[in-house]
Symmetry: C2
Subunit: 311 residues, 2 copies
């Protein structure tokens, strides 16, 4: 299995450099999960590392919320390939001298998220660290072939679940030392991995899927690169969270854990999906021949979008 073509940007340059170095000893890189077979079973695995100061500040959330959020980041990677979550390990680095209650609260939050997704907590590690560190590794089972980032075809519609921009609005408030809007805060501290939704969308014919973790614009770029297509986003179609400033904020808001997908005949599915899950499924654009992402308003390109950078 070859690598999924990687998008542009420094994060992918790093991954390319690493994979060149370690060669055939590494699984193909570039999707939300890696896949491996055991006997007749196909499994998916993914790890998500969160570090205080980089991904969050301790004062923003309770420890339970911090644990929930870290677990959901992992579970969302399983959702992105339509895997069924089995379980996770949760490693915690903490500066507490007496970490008992604090780590138990983190793990309670992670266990709540795991339970909501039908997964177990298998274990982990607890060590001392100046900054709070959480690394969650999730394992899921593929009941059917995975939906990867690489299957979008010219003519497909691009759809996104939910409404975007809540996490960015919450983050902006915290950075301005304001209390965030309650609904926006909730989107940041208690995101939901779209597990059942992803499997339904796979069965409805989704050809490519990715979870919105870097931001809609950046993740559309990943999907375009992996599928060797161009993606066009209609800025006026973006479903904007009520607390977000507008479609620009909604398109660059990361850690949404909503799903972006390519559907050949999506409009009929959208109504059924919304009715079933109580969650919107919105057509936000289309797949064309070419490469990269173009943002349009009334058919005219809109310039000036910066993508979220990990580094």
């Amino acid at each position: 299995m070859p690598h999924t073509p990687l998008g542009p940007g420094p994060e992918f340059d790093i991954i390319r450099g690493i994979w060149n170095r370690i060669g055939g000893r590494a699984s193909p890189a570039g999707d939300d999960c890696a896949f491996f077979k055991v006997g007749r079973e196909q499994l998916a695995i993914s790890s998500d590392l969160s570090v205080e100061g980089t991904h969050f500040q301790v004062g923003w959330m309770s420890r339970e919320e911090t644990g929930w959020r870290a677990a959901t980041a992992g579970l969302s990677d399983l959702a992105a390939v339509a895997a069924t979550p089995l379980g996770m390990t949760v490693s915690v680095g903490t500066s507490d001298e007496q970490p008992d209650d604090h780590v138990a609260e983190l793990m309670k939050g992670a266990a709540d998220a795991a339970e909501a997704a039908g997964a177990m907590i298998w274990g982990g590690d607890i060590v001392r660290s100046e900054r709070l560190v959480l690394d969650v590794t999730v394992v899921g089972r593929m009941e059917k072939d995975p939906v990867t980032r690489g299957g979008a075809e010219v003519g497909d519609g691009l759809f996104v679940t939910g409404r975007l921009g809540g996490p960015a609005a919450a983050l902006g408030a915290w950075e301005d030392r304001r209390e965030p809007d309650a609904a926006a805060r909730d989107r940041f501290v208690k995101p939901v991995a779209r597990i059942a939704e992803a499997q339904w969308l796979r069965d409805a014919g989704a050809r490519a899927m990715i979870d919105v973790s870097d931001g809609l614009l950046a993740d559309t770029g990943h999907l375009a690169a992996a599928s060797n297509v161009a993606c066009v986003l209609d800025i006026d179609a973006i479903p904007v969270h009520p607390a977000a400033a507008g479609p620009e904020e909604a398109m660059t808001s990361g850690e949404e854990y909503e799903l972006l997908l390519a559907l050949p005949n999506g409009v009929a599915a959208a109504g059924e999906f919304s009715e079933r899950f109580g969650l919107s499924l919105t057509r936000v654009g289309r797949v064309e021949a070419g490469s990269g992402v173009r943002v349009e308003r009334n058919g005219t390109p809109v310039d000036g979008f910066a993508t979220f950078r990990h580094f």
Copy 2:
């Protein structure tokens, strides 16, 4: 499956607190790996988090050695239950602005350790962190039932692979700002997970096994607690690394990644083992009725051993 009885000490108090909190959503705690079934396959999983400043200092090792060591910590947990390694994820937090080469070197070291154990690198995560952080999650397949910490029986001999004390000797030198003895340094920076050895020992009748990560004395305590037995260590039988100060240092030296095991008829196996693997297998004590660990010299208790504490 009930929890394996946990030993004394603050680390286990934390785990007890957590598991009480999250209840039935967690796998039984207390062994080197957690186990889960997928179809007819039984798999083992474990995570090991290493943090700069807690587990190592950046100046002590090259990045390749740091990656090797972190991967080996995980692989050794698979060895401890006699699992066959399949693969691992490696999450890296780094402060580098341009982390390309540095992360590639860490991953090269991890990939070398994985390859030596027959495992793949499946992926991971790369994020920014003030302190270098590595979290390795390993997954292995159980070809037969696992050898846990909990199977030792009264009358068994206690055996350990290799010679102990090298890592402690290296650590002591670095802490005194001396250059460590080359062989001791090698034991610290390039430990070996005893994968094939563990499977051989399982087939030779090992009833309980643990890898020496906290130190022989502490890990003997874990094995005794899990097996509901007392363990007696003969201080003069401890195989001491040439660079170590003596059996006291050898018994408290952590991160050895050698195996400690209970064997009913071990002396015959020891010779065959050494011949096959070019590694010593030494009888260091015996299993008795009771609880806890006793250190003896010529049948007389020796007092004054402190165990390694994670916190």
